[in-house]
């Protein structure tokens, strides 16, 4: 049963991240996703301090604020100060992450968070956090419920906002011309990424979030050109990585989050080589 809950948690994170990550990649914002997943740390710590517990709601609000703040700062540095965008991203997230680590050390006595957990999470602990009713009935681990709810939210967000996201992703100029707000969809997407990051943070840490945000969508993007297919395919790659990652971790007795991230890379490499061979064959001049 433990294995089931861990794999389920990993899979839920994988699908949430893969869906949002597809948009990030198409919008050329892969590293912004990386930046957000690091920069939400001070938000989480501050939320801890104010609420005094691991309540989900304050953490969500804290992280969402920080996530949006990060993108605003990056834009400000890039647009107003004319700093090249990669440097703007690099400065912003390291700065916020450093503040987060300092806050953790400063309030070490009040906060039940350690540095390692920030990086690679405690997915193995997920099954211990069961919701138990008064009659002793087990409803499953708390993180699974939270992640499941997040996934529902994301699917709702994507299906309701499909058209807006689609147009602002592929043709922002046209979107502006027909009166669809690019700013609105930009920040909605960024908030969704921040939310997913913070929900996943506890169980899988910052690294796996980044891996799942970027690698499965990139793998899918190598194969297909259609957004809908890309969304589905990247979820499948995410899911496969989560499942196989669990068994890899079991095999060599290592971190589950690390193994899942490794597996996303394995699938990417396989698809990359496969595509490479296929295009090579396709472009070969036939001999007559």
């Amino acid at each position: 049963m433990t294995a089931f809950w861990i794999i389920l948690t990993g899979s839920l994170v994988a699908i949430c991240c893969s869906l949002l990550g597809s948009y990030l990649i198409l919008r050329r914002m892969a590293m912004v996703g990386d930046a957000i997943s690091h920069a939400v740390l001070p938000g989480i710590v501050l939320a801890f301090l104010f609420s005094g517990s691991r309540e989900t709601l304050p953490m969500l609000i804290g992280a969402a604020c920080l996530g949006v703040f990060t993108t605003v700062i990056i834009e400000l540095f890039h647009q107003k100060a004319r700093l090249q965008s990669d440097a703007a991203i690099g400065i912003t997230f390291t700065w916020l992450f450093a503040i987060g680590i300092i806050l953790i050390s400063f309030f070490a006595d009040n906060i039940d968070l350690d540095q390692d957990c920030v990086l690679y999470g405690e997915i193995a602990m997920v099954p211990l956090d069961m919701i138990v009713s008064a009659t002793g009935w087990q409803f499953g681990p708390r993180p699974v419920w939270i992640l499941g709810f997040t996934l529902l939210l994301i699917i709702t967000f994507i299906s309701i906002g499909y058209k807006g996201l689609f147009i602002t992703t592929f043709n922002p100029e046209y979107a502006k011309a027909i009166g669809i707000s690019t700013v609105f969809w930009h920040y909605s997407l960024m908030s969704a990424v921040s939310l997913t990051t913070v929900v996943s943070f506890e169980s899988v840490g910052a690294i796996l979030v980044v891996a799942f945000l970027i690698v499965p969508p990139a793998t899918a993007y190598l194969i297909v050109d259609d957004l809908k297919k890309m969304l589905i395919l990247s979820s499948i790659f995410g899911l496969l990585s989560a499942i196989s990652g669990y068994y890899l971790a079991y095999l060599i007795n290592g971190s589950i989050a690390g193994a899942m991230a490794t597996m996303t890379g394995v699938f990417f490499t396989i698809v990359f080589i496969f595509q490479k061979i296929r295009t090579k064959n396709a472009t070969q001049v036939p001999n007559f």
């Binding site: 400065i91 980044v210 193994a259 990359f272």
Partner: protein
């Protein structure tokens, strides 16, 4: 205060090691970071920093010891592979380079964590301390570490000094470098190797995640202060080294404070200050400049309005009410109120009852703007052969920018014309 004196006297050997070690690192990272920044490879540094972890772990598994030389070799090799991988993926697929960076960064780091935890769980007693690579161990640097940092920093500085001109060229214009026969590939290889080396060493001070800051932030901050490469390197080095010193001091005074993150926060503060307040390039001076220009244009436009009205009435000193002025040109009411106020202080207009009049100084200023406008129209018409009905809008913008030197040139070039293309008189102040 005592803390500060104690700290600065460097009497505590531990303080000495930590302070010098981190300062050397900060300086070395800033130097290579400047080139990485200019070659738009700032985030590649981040990817390399993350990708060093599996190399360190594999080196440990293979060698079975924590000998820093082995670990450094392992780190450099996997750092190198990651750099090649980013390059290969973005070159050979439709994925953009930032996506490639993200893929390499997260997968290599995931692999590193997997190996690290696997080593930890294996119960090998000598592994303790490997996890220092994650967050750095600045506070526990030893004399040996400082020796290594010192030699790496010396090598870096020497190589950059020797190849300064070549590195400068491939950072700004690789195509030109190639065309004059420089071995661009080899030079890029050397520069990338230096970057990997600096990162592999630097990670031990600030850790994987924050290493990117040591590379990027000093260079980005220095960029706001100068346009010259050697000055930029010096300033970046100063930022890197001084924040290392401050960070060390903070964790010396408050032992529970981590050194690495404090170094990064100091650096970020310097960068933020530079981004906002650096003269000329900072956000605040830029906005300020824009505002000054906007006000200048507004005031000159009001003066022009007086002149145009005066031309029609054949009397430049006639007075007008605000409403009359507003009716003649499309100003917002607030603009004209503030503008007139401004001009009154500069003694260019004066107010009698409700009527505003041009003063003689105001007339001189107004004439100049009008002259520039009409001269420019003339220039476009005569020299660029633009039709008279196409020249007004251009002149409307350029009249506020032309300097006295260009003014003289224009006058001479056009031989002091009397009329503009619309047959209006060009007024000269004599």
């Amino acid at each position: 205060m005592d803390d500060l004196l104690n700290f600065l006297s460097f009497s505590d050997p531990n303080v000495r090691f930590v302070a010098f070690g981190t300062m050397l690192l900060g300086a070395a990272a800033a130097i290579v970071g400047t080139f990485a920044f200019l070659r738009k490879q700032a985030l590649v540094g981040d990817a390399v920093a993350h990708s060093i972890l599996p190399g360190v772990c594999l080196a440990f598994i293979i060698s079975g010891t924590k000998n820093p030389i082995y670990l450094l070799i392992g780190a450099s090799i996997s750092g190198w592979i990651s750099m090649l991988a980013v390059d290969y993926i973005s070159r050979n697929s439709k994925l953009k380079s930032d996506t490639a960076i993200g893929i390499v960064l997260s997968v290599f780091f995931g692999l590193g964590i997997l190996l690290l935890t696997s080593i930890q769980h294996s119960g090998n007693a000598s592994q303790a301390g490997l996890d220092k690579f994650l967050f750095g161990k600045a506070a526990s640097l030893t004399a040996d570490d400082v020796t290594i940092f010192g030699s790496v920093a010396a090598v870096l500085i020497l190589v950059v000094f020797l190849f300064y001109k070549e590195f400068k060229l491939i950072s700004f214009n690789p195509d030109f470098a190639k065309s004059i026969g420089l071995p661009v590939k080899t030079l890029e290889f050397i520069l990338s190797s230096l970057t990997v080396l600096a990162i592999a060493v630097g990670i031990q001070a600030v850790g994987v995640v924050l290493m990117a800051a040591l590379l990027i932030t000093p260079a980005a901050a220095a960029r706001f202060w100068t346009h010259q490469l050697w000055k930029m390197i010096l300033i970046a080095t100063f930022f890197g080294a001084s924040s290392a010193l401050i960070g060390t001091f903070v964790s010396y005074s408050y032992p529970s404070m981590p050194t690495g993150p404090w170094i990064v926060v100091c650096l970020s503060m310097m960068a933020l200050f530079s981004i906002f307040f650096a003269p000329k390039n900072g956000i605040v001076p830029q906005l300020n400049n824009q505002k000054i220009n906007r006000l200048k244009i507004r005031n000159e436009n009001i003066l022009k309005l007086f002149y145009h009205l005066g031309e029609g009435n054949k009397n430049f000193f006639k007075g007008y009410t605000k409403q009359e002025l507003l009716a003649s040109r499309d100003f917002r009411i607030q603009e004209i109120v503030q503008g007139l106020d401004h001009l009154k202080k500069a003694n260019k207009v004066r107010k009698l009852d409700d009527y505003w009049h041009l003063t003689s100084t105001g007339l001189v200023a107004a004439k100049r703007v009008i002259k520039l406008h009409r001269l420019w129209e003339m220039y476009l018409n005569q020299k660029l052969k633009l039709a008279p009905d196409h020249v007004h809008n251009d002149a409307e913008a350029i009249e506020h920018i032309i300097t006295p030197e260009i003014e003289k040139l224009l006058e001479k070039e056009l031989n002091y014309p009397k009329k503009d293309p619309h047959q209006s008189t060009i007024p000269y102040n004599d």
